[in-house]
Symmetry: C2
Subunit: 107 residues, 2 copies
């Protein structure tokens, strides 16, 4: 995540278990995930994203900007597909980042 915004700001921690019981359940998943990431970048208040297998953390300047993204119409459609088809389980934690620190070595 690259940003100059200082805490407090918001993080949406999304962890999931994909549906692998139906062979075609994940058709279109990667394309849609990439589209959603591109769309999120255009949203008001978007700060960045960290993701790895089964975990997506998105950072937002405010609780309001996070909620706007949750309610964005294309994102809502993607959430319905996630709920109905892509995921067996997911867990969302909405958290207020109170402080942060980092190490960055010279390469």
């Amino acid at each position: 995540m690259n940003t100059s915004t200082k805490p407090p700001y918001y993080a949406c921690i999304f962890t999931s278990v994909q549906n692998k019981s139906v062979p075609t359940a994940l058709d279109g998943y990667s394309t849609l995930a990439n589209e959603m990431e591109e769309l999120a970048k255009q949203q008001n208040g978007y700060m960045g994203i960290d993701s790895a297998s089964g975990i997506i953390i998105s950072y937002w300047k405010s609780s309001d900007s996070m909620r706007e993204w949750k309610e964005q119409v294309d994102h809502r459609a993607a959430q319905l597909l996630g709920k109905g088809r892509f995921y067996n389980d997911y867990h969302v934690h909405i958290a207020k980042v109170e402080r942060e620190y980092a190490l960055k070595k010279q390469q």
Copy 2:
């Protein structure tokens, strides 16, 4: 994460880039990471962990319990190894989980 604790509670979001420029830099990393996870489970206030490549999120009942874990002596030694040897970059976000929701399908 399995827990019956309701928000608010705390999350420590740790994202990292491993040091792959020195072939031996990551010797012992996996063993130490597993030891730290086992040790964290014994700490007061530990709630659970979500991890994937380059991301570790640990959940804690309070800010105090999170700080106690940060200061735990073996964990401090591990942090020094992380800083000096294992990681090129890392970023820590300390966040207060304000709400959560989940989907869990019957299998």
